[in-house]
């Protein structure tokens, strides 16, 4: 099948694709090149997912429809098909070199917004689907700093299918642009700076990380200096103890080790390598207030209790 442009009318310079990408709520889409859509190989398998395939293709590529297509009851059905077709092609296109390139341009202009998490300090996010099949979930935003996904801030994105971006794109994107991916370890550069880290503007963070030449020893890993600060709940200035019922339980979710070597202290099954039989009471090295532990009656009691056994 050949999708030939019917004599392009000079009055309508706006293509369907440009129009579609300019609609409110479609800011995350990039323009898929017509060459990509015209190559049938790129569309393998899509024709069984999209109703009114031929008419949808005509609409997306601005081809004048055949005379005998009047059997379609309502043009809005074709519009829905064209959107589905474009979305599914878009999911594939943004995994190609050209697609990744046009998405990185959008990323660097913060077209997808920033992470809502305070301690990610305005890290740019990318669109991400939770399923590759359409009709399951709407588009989400992936933050490379906290490796988590968020709902878009505006309700206008609630009509955008996550499958139009797919599950793979966000991660292939940061695999392809390593300099944009934050590294998995973080050391507070100085005590003064770490306590202020939430207040620094994103601009100053970017420029300082470039200046100091941050290098991850893993060449295949993220090469950007991460934002590693983790929120600590406090009441009247005192940390809420983990022993309280309402104490912190989720800090692990955002924690990074101080050095990349620490990542190797856990094996592929998720167990600590150097701890034969973990007895559950040893403090981990991340705890700052170690000396307090010696005054802990429960701990002392527990130790004597264990040694008597």
């Amino acid at each position: 099948m050949k999708w030939r442009k019917a004599s392009s009318t000079p009055t309508s310079t706006l293509t369907w694709i440009s129009w579609f990408c300019s609609l409110p709520g479609h800011e995350y889409f990039c323009e898929v090149s017509e060459d990509f859509i015209e190559d049938d190989f790129n569309l393998t398998g899509l024709n069984i997912m999209v109703p009114f395939w031929k008419e949808a293709m005509e609409m997306v590529l601005d081809v004048e429809p055949d005379e005998d297509t009047s059997k379609i009851p309502d043009v809005s059905i074709v519009e829905a098909s064209a959107e589905l077709l474009y979305g599914l092609v878009h999911q594939r296109y943004i995994l190609t070199r050209a697609g990744l390139q046009s998405m990185v341009d959008k990323y660097e202009s913060a077209a997808f917004g920033v992470c809502p998490r305070v301690y990610c300090v305005g890290c740019n996010v990318v669109p991400c689907g939770r399923s590759d099949l359409p009709g399951i979930d709407t588009v989400k935003l992936y933050c490379p700093n906290c490796n988590d996904i968020y709902g878009p801030p505006s309700s206008r994105f609630q009509g955008v299918d996550g499958a139009f971006f797919g599950t793979t794109f966000a991660h292939l994107f940061f695999q392809s642009y390593r300099e944009l991916a934050p590294a998995p370890y973080w050391k507070p550069s100085s005590s003064a700076e770490s306590s202020l880290s939430a207040g620094r503007s994103p601009d100053s963070v970017h420029s300082s990380s470039r200046r100091s030449g941050f290098v991850n020893p893993n060449p295949h890993g993220g090469q950007k200096r991460p934002e590693g600060h983790v929120y600590e709940p406090r009441v009247y200035g005192f940390k809420v103890s983990e022993r309280a019922k309402s104490g912190p339980r989720m800090q692990w979710l955002r924690l990074r080790p101080q050095s990349p070597l620490e990542l190797d202290t856990v094996d592929w099954r998720g167990r600590w390598i150097d701890e034969e039989e973990y007895d559950g009471i040893d403090e981990d090295e991340e705890e700052g207030d170690r000396q307090m532990e010696y005054f802990d009656p429960v701990r002392v009691f527990y130790k004597t209790f264990r040694s008597r056994k």
Binding site: P24, G25, P116, R117, V118, Y119, R130, K140, Y142, N147, D148, I149, Y150, G151, P153, S155, R156, Q158, G159, T167, A170, H171, L172, Q175, P184, A198, G199, N218, H220, Y231, P233, R234, V235, G237, V240, E242, R243, K245, S246, G247, R249, M250, W252, L253, L255, R256, E262, L263, V266, W268, G270, R271, Y278, D279, G280, D284, E286, V298, Y302, F305
Partner: protein, 274 residues
Amino acid sequence: MLGRAVDDASTGSDSDYSNSWISWFLSSKGNEYFCEVEEDYILDRFNLTGLNNEVSNYAQALDLITDNLDDDIQDELRGALDVQARLLYGLIHARWIVTARGLAKMLEKFKRVDFGRCPRVLCQSQPLLPVGLSDIPYEKSVKLYCGRCEDVYSPKSSRHGSIDGAYFGTSFPHLLFMVYPHLIPPKVGIVEPAPAPRANDADTNRRNKRIREDSEALETVGEPASTASVALKADRYRPRIYGFQLHEIAKLQRWQEAIRDRQVGRLEVLEDLS
């Protein structure tokens, strides 16, 4: 599909506020996070100890808040005074919401989801609580604390993003969950805090009543359930390319989960001892 953000329809019209400064302040746009500080609390000078050093024109600002300001004050002074009154009200608010009655008022707002919902997808729209990152005014804007992922987020709307965090303080959400431990959000599943009943619909009314009764029944339970191992239930996002996990991120996530398991072990041992 082209649904536009229609979140700024109500509030702020000149006709519908009563004459008191506080109710005007609470009804004006962008102040949805604030709750009403009871007049008795403001009139007790003990509660305001030290605030006269924070607020210039303290006496007049206080008069404005409590509607005792002379009417013959000039308009330009009134404008400047309004800024000071907002600051004073904010600082009183930060103290008020950590009192028993203040906590109860904020709890109602929490149940009405006045502070929005967690943007994190796996928090299943958990309602949020306001929190400051500093107790000193003019340092940090207000943030939102999620009791499920225990992290802080920036408000979606810029008119909330410009509120001073010191008007809520660093302690408030943590104190709330200490005082109401049965309201600590579970790490899985969707929880709706009992929604406010609507008068026009008998069916929802009845259902809400049941929900209320359930939550009240919950509130009367003395000892809340153990939270030692709740983290194990928490869902997390795992990045994948064509279904395969990424080496470096998977490694970081294994390390984080080992940290989690270590804490769970630590807490369970403590629980067995007590």
